[in-house]
C-alpha cells in the first residue's frame, strides 16, 4: 500500500520535473503555480506513504529505497520552507529533478530489510537516519542554490536585459538560500555521522575506517566543512562556491552509492 501512495507522489513530482525543464527556457507564472500545487499534493501522498511505513511496525526505514523516499520527502520539505520564506519556486529547477529521481528509484519495488536485524540500538539508528537525511536534503538545496547563483551571475554579467531565465530571484536572495541551507545542514550532517559511528561501534565493536562508506562519508563531511568555513571566513560564493558545492554533492552521491558495496553499511541482500 505504501508503495502505491509513493507512486501517486511520483506522478505529482513528474509535473515538477517538467516544470524544471520548462522554467529554464521560459517563464510562466501559471505553470509555476501548477507545479507548486502538484508538488504539495505529491508531498501529501508521500507523507501518507511514509506514515504507513512507520506505522506498519517494522523499522523498514533502513532499506535503501525507503531511505531514498525519506530523503526526497525531506528535500521537498526544505523546498517548501524556502518557498514560504522567499516566495520563489526557482530552487525547484534543481530540487524537483533530484526528488523525482530519488522517488522514482524508491518506487520501483520494495527491498528486503537486513541491517536492522543486527542493530542492537534502534533508537540510535533512527536518529542517525533522520539526522543524516536532513543534512543531505540541505546539501541538495545549497547545491541547487549555488548553481542558480552561477546562472544569475552569468546573466547579470552578460548584460542582456531580456533574457529567457528571468524567473530567478535576486542574486543575494539566492545566496541567502544557499548559505542558510548550508548552515542548517551542517550540524545535522555532523550529528548524523556521530550517531552513525555510535551505531557502527555498538554493532561491530569497532570502526573500520577503510570501509568505502566511512571513507566517502568522511570526505563528504570534510568538503561540507570546508564550504561552511570558506563561506564564513572569506564569503566565498559564485564560481568557487559552486565548485565546492558540486564536489560535496558528488561526494554525497558517492557516499550514498557506497551503500551498494560497503561491507558494514549494506541493506540489500548479498
Amino acid at each position: 500500500m505504501s508503495l502505491l501512495w509513493l507512486r501517486f507522489a511520483l506522478g505529482c513530482y513528474f509535473i515538477g520535473l517538467v516544470y524544471a525543464f520548462v522554467a529554464l527556457t521560459r517563464t510562466s507564472d501559471l505553470f509555476s503555480r501548477i507545479a507548486l500545487h502538484a508538488a504539495s499534493l505529491g508531498m501529501v501522498f508521500h507523507f501518507v506513504s511514509l506514515a504507513e511505513l512507520f506505522l506498519s511496525g517494522q523499522v523498514v526505514w533502513a532499506s535503501v529505497h525507503n531511505g531514498e523516499s525519506l530523503l526526497a520527502f525531506l528535500s521537498m520539505t526544505f523546498f517548501m520552507i524556502i518557498y514560504a520564506i522567499y516566495q520563489t519556486t526557482s530552487p525547484g529547477v534543481v530540487v524537483f529533478p533530484v526528488v523525482f529521481f530519488l522517488t522514482f528509484v524508491a518506487a520501483v519495488d520494495q527491498q528486503p530489510v537486513l541491517l536492522t536485524q543486527f542493530v542492537s540500538h534502534k533508537g540510535w539508528l533512527i536518529a542517525h537516519i533522520i539526522l543524516i537525511f536532513t543534512g543531505y536534503a540541505a546539501l541538495v538545496l545549497s547545491f541547487g542554490a549555488s548553481l542558480l547563483y552561477l546562472l544569475q551571475e552569468r546573466r547579470l554579467k552578460a548584460k542582456k536585459s531580456t533574457s529567457l531565465i528571468s524567473f530567478l530571484p535576486a542574486l543575494e536572495v539566492i545566496d541567502q538560500i544557499g548559505y542558510r541551507s548550508l548552515l542548517l545542514g551542517f550540524p545535522f550532517m555532523t550529528l548524523g555521522l556521530i550517531t552513525g559511528s555510535i551505531v557502527a561501534i555498538t554493532t561491530y565493536g569497532r570502526m573500520d575506517f577503510l570501509d568505502p562508506k566511512i571513507l566517502l562519508s568522511l570526505l563528504m563531511w570534510a568538503v561540507y566543512m570546508v564550504m561552511v568555513f570558506t563561506r564564513w571566513n572569506s564569503g566565498w560564493r559564485g564560481r568557487r562556491a559552486a565548485f565546492l558545492a558540486t564536489f560535496a554533492f558528488v561526494a554525497a552521491l558517492a557516499a550514498w552509492a557506497a551503500n551498494y558495496f560497503s561491507a558494514i553499511h549494506r541493506f540489500a541482500a548479498s
Binding site: Q152, K159, T162, A170, V173, G235, R237, R239
Partner: protein, 436 residues
C-alpha cells in the same frame, strides 16, 4: 457630442512655446474660471504639464473659438502660436484624451506620471465647477481606459530611464535595496539623479567623493550623507554596495586590483558599479571579478532602448484598445442623446391615450371591470405597436452619425420639442441626458 480639444505638446511645439503657455498649478483654477466664462463654453478643463498644455471643453455648438481664448489669455499673436497648435473635435478629441491619459502621447511612452497629472487637472477644474455632466463622463471613462491599458498591456512595465534601469539592476543583484550604501564618485547631475532614485527605493546611507571637496560636501548635505576626501576613496569604497561614478578623469580610476582589495575587505559580498563617465572610470577587467558587476553608460543606454522597443510593441496593442473604447464611448453618448426623445415620445402618446379613454368613457357610461381591462389592453397594445418602429429606429440611429437628424424628425413629427420645453424644467432634462 460637442467635445473640443486644443493644445500643444512636445511634438508640436518647441520648449520656448510650451514655456509661454505653461500655467503654474496655483493659477490653474483662475484659468479654468476664465475659460468657462468664455463664449460658447459649457464645461472645460486645462491640463498643463512640462510636455503639454491642453484645453478640453464641452461647447454649446461644437465650434467654440478656443484659439481666440488662447490668444487672449496668453497675450500671444496668432502667428506666434497657431502653427504649433493641434485641435481635435468630437470623436477625435475623445481619442486624443484617451491616448494622453493612457500615456501613449507622452514623450516617454508608458510613463506613469501623466495619469496623475490629468487627474489633478480634473480635480482642479471640478473644484471650481468648470466640469460637470459631459466632461465628467468623458474623464471617468478616460481614467478607466488608462487603467485598462496599463493592466492589459505591458506598456508601462519596463524602466526606460537610465536612473530607473540602474535601480532595476541593483534590485536584481541585491533583492531589496533596504539598508544598502551608495557611493557617489564625482558630483554630477546624472549621478545625483541616480542616487536620488536609489535612495527612494530604500538605500540607507550615502558617501560622496569629489576632486573638489566643497562640492562633495554640498552634495552630501542634500542627501544627509557623508563627504569623503578623494584621497580616501579607495580606503572607504568597500563600504558601499553601489558605486555611481562620473568623474572627468581621462583614465580608469577603478582597476582590477582595487576590485580585488574591495572584495577581500567585503568578504566577497557583491558590488555594483554604475559608470556613467565618458571615458569610463571603471576599467573593463573589473567585470571579470566574481561578485563585481559593472554597467557603463552604453550598457544602461542599451537596456533603456530595448525597453523602449518593448514598449512600442505594447503601444500598438494599447492603440487597439483605445480605438474600441472610443467607439464604445461614442455609442453610449449617442444612446443618451436619444433617451430624452424616447421618453417624451412615450409620455406624449400616453397623454393622448388617457385623454381618448376619458372621452370614450363619458359616452359609454359606467363600464364593468372586465370592460375596463379590455379597453386598457387594447389601447396599450395599439400604442406599443405604433411606437415600436420609431423607438427602434431612434436606438439604431443613435449608433450612427445620423442620430441628430432622426431625433429632429421624430420631434417635429410628434411636436415634441415645444411640449418638452413647457413641461420639463431644464435641470431635469440635464439629468436625463447624463444618466449612464
Amino acid at each position: 457630442m460637442r467635445f473640443q480639444l486644443i493644445g500643444v505638446n512636445h511634438n508640436s511645439a518647441p520648449l520656448e512655446v510650451r514655456e509661454r503657455l505653461a500655467i503654474p498649478e496655483s493659477r490653474l483654477p483662475d484659468a479654468c474660471r476664465d475659460l468657462s466664462a468664455y463664449p460658447g463654453i459649457e464645461e472645460c478643463m486645462v491640463i498643463s504639464t512640462c510636455n503639454r498644455v491642453e484645453i478640453v471643453a464641452h461647447t454649446t455648438n461644437g465650434h467654440a473659438d478656443l484659439r481666440g481664448f488662447l490668444h487672449q489669455h496668453f497675450h500671444l499673436k496668432p502667428e506666434e502660436l497657431d502653427a504649433h497648435l493641434y485641435e481635435f473635435r468630437e470623436k477625435e478629441a475623445v481619442r486624443h484624451l484617451f491616448r494622453v491619459a493612457s500615456s501613449l502621447d507622452s514623450m516617454v511612452v508608458g510613463e506613469a506620471q501623466i495619469l496623475g497629472q490629468v487627474k489633478e487637472a480634473y480635480a482642479t477644474a471640478r473644484a471650481v465647477g468648470a466640469v460637470r455632466g459631459q466632461l465628467d463622463q468623458l474623464f471617468s471613462r478616460a481614467f478607466a481606459v488608462a487603467k485598462r491599458v496599463r493592466s492589459e498591456t505591458a506598456v508601462g512595465s519596463s524602466s526606460v530611464s537610465i536612473a530607473s534601469v540602474a535601480v532595476e539592476l541593483a534590485k536584481k543583484i541585491f533583492g531589496t535595496l533596504e539598508g544598502k550604501t551608495v557611493f557617489i564618485v564625482g558630483a554630477g547631475k546624472m549621478s545625483e539623479l541616480a542616487a536620488r532614485h536609489l535612495m527612494a527605493h530604500g538605500c540607507a546611507s550615502i558617501f560622496v567623493a569629489n576632486r573638489t571637496y566643497d562640492r562633495a560636501i554640498g552634495l552630501a548635505q542634500k542627501f544627509n550623507g557623508q563627504a569623503i576626501r578623494f584621497d580616501d576613496l579607495y580606503s572607504t569604497c568597500d563600504r558601499a554596495d553601489i558605486v555611481i561614478t562620473s568623474t572627468g578623469s581621462p583614465h580608469a580610476i577603478f582597476r582590477r586590483e582595487h576590485g580585488e582589495q574591495f572584495l577581500a575587505r567585503r568578504k566577497n559580498r557583491p558590488m555594483f558599479f554604475i559608470d556613467i563617465a565618458v571615458p569610463r572610470d571603471v576599467s573593463p577587467d573589473m567585470a571579470k571579478l566574481d561578485g563585481i558587476f559593472t554597467y557603463d553608460i552604453d550598457d544602461l543606454q542599451q537596456a533603456v532602448s530595448s525597453h523602449v522597443a518593448d514598449r512600442r510593441k505594447e503601444a500598438e496593442l494599447a492603440e487597439a484598445i483605445i480605438t474600441g473604447e472610443v467607439e464604445r464611448f461614442e455609442a453610449r453618448l449617442h444612446t443618451l442623446d436619444v433617451v430624452p426623445t424616447i421618453v417624451s415620445l412615450q409620455d406624449h402618446l400616453e397623454t393622448i391615450r388617457q385623454a381618448e379613454i376619458d372621452r370614450v368613457r363619458g359616452r359609454m357610461g359606467q363600464l364593468t371591470p372586465e370592460q375596463e381591462i379590455a379597453i386598457e389592453a387594447l389601447t396599450r397594445g395599439i400604442i406599443n405597436k405604433v411606437m415600436h418602429t420609431p423607438i427602434t429606429t431612434l436606438k439604431t440611429a443613435a449608433k450612427e452619425s445620423e442620430a441628430t437628424t432622426v431625433v429632429d424628425v421624430v420631434r417635429r413629427l410628434f411636436n415634441l420639442h415645444d411640449k418638452e420645453k413647457e413641461a420639463e424644467p431644464p435641470a431635469k432634462k440635464n439629468e436625463v441626458g447624463t444618466r449612464p
